[in-house]
Symmetry: C2
């Protein structure tokens, strides 16, 4: 679906999840012209139904052709492109660029892959903007979201978790961890937050101290130096449900830098399941 | 089995795995008197058959009674006590010490638990020594073990991996990671190395670059500041087999600080499966 007009549109390159639709709705409400380009195999059915074009992630010539036709004011990447597929994305560009350069990028990790993909799009004259610039109210704010509040024990876990994420941020590793007190239960790798939470659930607290050690926290935020125009960390109702299954007390995210997909649904789930949901200003929590 | 004598024995507190037997054999060869105290449910059958006493991990009064009777010159902890059970160990001491203090320890993570357990044993007058002091040749040496050598790509992964372990070392988190190039595939949590390797296997390299990205490395070493008398990182033939299944090119361990259980079998497995096995002097690799 397109909001037509003489103004050049925003091109939404749609991966998985609800974010592309949320973003399109937001732009529509503000009367901003936009077009949706869905990636086949990634974008949801609901996105596909509204997309102006659906192409394979590897069909670079068609991607460039569509964008050349649309002449977008800017491009935004919305939704997940699973990490192997981010590699695939760059791989596709190898037809246009030097193959060895691509292979070097691939060896350097996904952050670099995404950066490479962005560079390549930009080298073709397209301007990339982040969801963060287009719809800042989709991001977590600082402070509590919902009815529940962290307890003093949880504060220690939150500080420890953000401290760990900071310490790891120069490495190409996940954006989330599960922490209980000072104990790190799980660090997110390429498997993503949901699978990490399943692991945390399996590990759990030491049986003998279960009543006391419950109160683990999912901590999530972007890496320092990460390109915030792509791959913003995100949470949603499913994250809350999985955190509850893992026996966690709550979720702490970096405010201003973490997407809350379906905010009403996410907060309702947290309230119902008894989890706190806290936005933390990392400029304060950075140094623990 | 006991090497009797008038000299006070070394008491080997035996957890899981082959290390207690390896250590007992070593002490026997050197004519050092020793006694084995196996923890029921943790020590292997082969250890049980040779143990001078087998007690439940929670039977603190009997543990202290046996040790009081043996009057050991020193106590050494050998073999794994799964992390929840480390909590259980300390829990058991709660009969002797303040319960709230134990609970505080438990909230602070496993490193602190072990430290607490050691403090409690020492407060009862027992001296704790590490396997490292008793049998230094059970540790990895610096340089290659076996026939295969890392390639230049692997060197990057090794540096990245030890850099990550260093960055994380002030946190209570695992002692190992899987890295491919600069990309962190998995960070070990309480689930242990074998389960982390299973995860790395499931994640694998991006399909598109598989031929190029194979060459991930298991990196393992102790945390900085860790009490090296307990919980030394260890590898063995099973580690090699699991690393091979995960498609890794090799294993790098901190030399002098990592146990190689069944050295001949471990090296033979690495040679047969085509993996390099490298001891790295972390005093050199610490700063990347």
């Amino acid at each position: 679906m397109t909001t037509s007009g003489t103004a050049r549109p925003i091109a939404i390159l749609a991966g998985s999840g609800e974010l592309p639709i949320l973003l399109a709705d937001r732009l529509a409400r503000e009367g901003m012209p936009h077009r949706i380009l869905g990636f086949r195999g990634f974008c949801e059915r609901s996105v596909k139904a509204r997309a102006d074009a659906v192409i394979g992630l590897l069909d670079v010539r068609r991607l460039v052709g569509v964008l050349d036709e649309w002449q977008p004011a800017a491009i935004t990447l919305a939704g997940g492109l699973q990490r192997p597929s981010a590699a695939a994305l760059v791989s596709a560009f190898s037809a246009l660029r030097d193959r060895d350069e691509i292979a070097r990028l691939a060896a350097r990790g996904d952050d670099n892959l995404l950066r490479g993909a962005i560079d390549l799009l930009q080298s073709r004259g397209f301007q990339l903007v982040g969801v963060r610039d287009l719809a800042p109210d989709l991001l977590a704010h600082a402070g509590p979201h919902g009815a529940h509040r962290p307890r003093p024990d949880d504060d220690l876990a939150i500080r420890t978790g953000f401290g760990l994420l900071d310490a790891m941020s120069r490495f190409d590793v996940g954006q989330a961890a599960v922490v209980s007190g000072e104990r790190v239960i799980a660090v997110e790798g390429p498997e993503g937050t949901d699978r990490m939470l399943a692991r945390a659930r399996a590990i759990g607290a030491p049986r003998w101290f279960k009543p006391r050690l419950r109160g683990g926290v999912l901590v999530k935020g972007p890496k320092r130096g990460q390109d915030l125009r792509v791959d913003l960390p995100a949470i949603g109702p499913r994250t809350v449900a999985n955190a509850a299954r893992a026996g966690l007390a709550g979720i702490a995210v970096a405010s201003g830098y973490t997407l809350v997909i379906d905010r009403a649904g996410t907060v309702a789930a947290a309230d119902r399941l008894g989890l706190f949901l806290l936005g933390v200003d990392r400029s304060e929590s950075a140094h623990v």
